[in-house]
Symmetry: C2
Subunit: 338 residues, 2 copies
């Protein structure tokens, strides 16, 4: 039985999350029962939603239980199978968690999905052609419902969700403006991802400055906004929103540590007759096939070239995750496990 | 030519509106041109949206110009007609403004509409079977989209919009909880309007207290909220909202005087996967016939028994309007002009 290094949630953050909230343990993978599959993880996905799960409060879906392996998406290879649908060597995507191996019930619907790596590298099934990409797709297509010629804005634009959002919005004939941290990320957003403009939030650190930057980057106003961050950027977007603008609220990283994050002027929702809608993509599984098909096509044809930041080894996951929350990653944050 | 008393907007409010913002003048109604109709107003409608129009800032639609007759809905009787579709004695509803008479272009679409007073008293065409009723209908039917068994909450529940909202939601099999100011209004809301419960906001003047009152009145949580007020009540509703709750934002009286009105915890929109949507009913004329038909039926059958507070004479309009903004009215606020 292979030796399996795992990272557990040891205790809950008091304010900011730290590496001390996690604990590395080593176990042996159990022997397989009928219907089970042993997966060797090649990559672990690190995503902002995990920070919400670390809190004990009501948050996105359930809290992460203490003393258990941290939840997380994984891609890997079937190492052993007692299920007729999975063969050794199959490439699979699942929710294996922060560990090197996982034993999965091959019959549980949606737990393990075989993927084709002919045109799409395996790691991208955790990013552009995985949950982050589908998240961008749902927010854009189902909540924002863009029309050609409209102006779309996305925060955390160089990340896995933001970069997919940009490609999907460009494919629909929109002007797309990103917000990212630092000149290097902004250059990537415009030059490699093909956004029409990108605002460096480090140069526009308050409401007034951000609002002016948005005015300049969005001369026709803002029709759709995909919210990954929260705080003063959302306030600034509301000031530049057109009548009937739509905001898809996907993440509010700025508030994960429990600090209050008020919206300064909600009256603008009425004045601009806006729609502001929160969502969790895992509650809309029915749209995944359509979204994954479009995203796979964009990656396969080179129209979406996602970046990755790769940490090495499961022990590096906590540090990489904390860096992600601070925007230290560049593109999709992964942990390489093989 | 009849002598016509009018109320003009003389100057814009600095903070709270006062009677000094208005000016009473007397003119003569002009002689009719071909295609025009002279209407004698029986009632003028006073509505919270007018406060937004008094400001110079970007608000609902256009600002009210200084030195012109205040905008407002009116019902009345055709006194003279040079239009083939309108005859002397016809009862009509229109946007005649704060004055005793108006001259209307009978060809302008939607400016003047004949109404039937057999089953519905003329004044109700300014309330339950008029713009306020249609406002409630749009927010409930098109934004909240209620299901039988869900819990609906409405602020300003004894008012023209709130009372219509309650009747429409009850007709769809919902539990309906009102919020109103004072025991007399709350009694009317439950006993005469048939709401399941009513919370007196004067007894629950802060977030914690209102949140507890909502918990008690809504044991299954809140699925839909119709927002007429803004401020801490919306914060409290968000704390009690169920997953996938919908908020229709129709008015934010609490913020009309320019004071900041932040939303304390917008993260709840994401956590509860909510939809918060602002609207102005005049931008959705296509739904008026369907809405008016249902509302007329509810009033005609006695299922909706709207109250009215009636001021006498055009000179009383400013004082009555300021009272409305402070919740001094009981039900629909009208000014009787004949």
């Amino acid at each position: 039985m292979p030796r399996n290094q795992q990272i557990l949630l040891d205790n809950r953050p008091q304010g900011e999350a730290t590496t001390g909230n996690f604990k590395l343990v080593t176990t042996e993978t159990p022997a397989l029962q009928d219907g089970q599959v042993l997966v060797r993880h090649h990559y672990l996905s690190l995503d902002p939603y995990m920070r919400g799960r670390m809190n004990d409060s009501k948050s996105y879906a359930a809290s992460q239980p203490l003393g258990e392996v941290m939840i997380g998406g994984t891609v890997g290879e079937v190492a052993e199978s007692r299920h007729p649908k999975f063969a050794v060597g199959d490439k699979v995507v699942g929710m294996g968690g922060w560990q090197e191996w996982s034993v999965v019930d091959g019959n549980a619907p949606g737990m393990l999905r075989k993927v084709d790596t002919t045109h799409v590298p395996l790691s991208h099934y955790l990013g552009a052609v995985g949950m982050p990409g589908v998240t961008a797709w749902y927010g854009l297509v189902k909540i924002i419902e863009p029309k050609a010629g409209e102006t779309m804005v996305v925060s955390a634009a160089s990340g896995a969700v933001g970069s997919a959002f940009g490609a999907l919005a460009k494919a629909r004939g929109c002007r797309v403006v990103g917000i990212a941290g630092g000149p290097e990320k902004c250059r990537y957003v415009t030059e490699e991802l093909g956004f029409d403009a990108c605002i460096d939030h480090r140069e526009h650190g308050d409401l007034k400055s951000m609002s002016q930057a948005l005015k300049q980057a969005c001369p026709q106003g803002i029709d759709g906004y995909f919210e990954n961050v929260g705080g003063y950027i959302l306030d600034a977007v509301l000031l530049r929103a057109n009548a009937f603008a739509r905001v898809a609220v996907c993440g509010l990283i700025a508030g994960y540590d429990g600090q209050p994050l008020p919206l300064q002027n909600p009256a603008l929702i009425l004045i601009n007759r806006m729609k502001v809608q929160g969502f969790i993509v895992s509650e809309h599984m029915e749209i995944w096939p359509e979204a994954l098909k479009e995203l796979g096509g964009l990656v396969g044809s080179g129209k979406l070239r996602p970046r990755e930041t790769i940490a090495e080894g499961i022990a590096a996951a906590p540090e990489a995750f904390l860096g992600l929350l601070k925007g230290k990653n560049f593109g999709k944050q992964l942990v390489k496990l093989v």
